[in-house]
Amino acid sequence: MRWIHIDDIVELREGERARAARTVPANAEYLDRHFPGIPFVPQTLLIESMAQTAGILLGKTTRFERDVILAKIDRAEFAELARPGDALVIEAVLEDIREEGARASCRILRGDVEVGRATLVFALLTDRDADRLGARGFVFSGGLFGGLRPD
């Protein structure tokens, strides 16, 4: 399983909100390995779809110069299962942006139906964090995240 859980950023209002599209793969191996015969997207991966949408929205406010990592899941709730073939829209709204990070309010929709929602807290890493981790510039430096950066 690769680690990209949105297909495209379809709308982005800088520093405010973003919408991403995600079609659940029809036959991804992880869906069947999760529970054979009853394929649905693990809710943790739906949280990741919301985190990636909000993470790109927050990263763009720093021109992708600072690393953004998920620091806390304040709350996540799921009302519906997401199944193979579902066309999902992920919405993220930035709230409370500070120097050290931000909070984002996110939703996942299938048509008019809300599949789930989450409030996520992100850290914007500092040079000191980078020294502690021994890594910097790792989130948006390339790979698939690099390809999803809306310029």
Partner: protein
């Protein structure tokens, strides 16, 4: 690979708490993206380890071979990162019921250092849509997983 996440169940007090481990493999495919120059276990996979452990606590506690989905997570905080080769030890404990769905507290650590902690609620997924053959195959899968997690041959105690 990634799913299912856990390698081993290392302790279980039926109806109360469970302990399990997962070691992050160097060859885990998602590490190529997360992240190319800094491979670490995604935070949501740590949460998935807690969710999986809690679901096994339900199954091993005589709640049947059902399957569970995450209904709600709250105050999930992250500490140290989990790198390739690290063993994440997780623990989940029953904290009560929320509208008849089981709720849990969970935590995970590497070498005694906290990596994740939080609260969550699971929901049983209805299996009404499955025919007899599909249900049998799901049950065989769960039995195989159970044996692997407990380190015992399938069908054994």
């Amino acid at each position: 690979m990634a799913f299912p996440v856990l390698d081993r169940i290392t302790g279980c007090e039926a109806g109360r708490r469970i302990e399990a481990t997962v070691t992050l493999s160097q060859s885990e495919e998602y590490l190529a993206d997360h992240f190319p120059s800094f491979p670490i276990m995604p935070g949501v996979i740590m949460l998935e380890a807690l969710v999986e452990a809690a679901a096994w606590l339900m199954r091993l506690g005589g709640e049947g071979g059902g399957i569970f989905a995450l209904r709600e997570a709250r105050a999930v905080r992250y500490g140290r990162v989990v790198r390739p080769g690290d063993e994440l030890r997780v623990e989940a404990a029953i904290a009560g019921d929320r509208d008849e769905d089981p709720s849990f507290t969970g935590a995970g650590s590497v070498g005694g250092e906290r990596a994740v902690a939080g609260k969550f609620v699971l929901r049983r997924v209805p299996l009404d849509g499955l025919d007899g053959a599909a249900r049998a195959s799901l049950e065989a899968f769960l039995e195989e997983r159970r044996a692997a997690l407990l380190g015992r041959p399938a069908g054994g105690g």
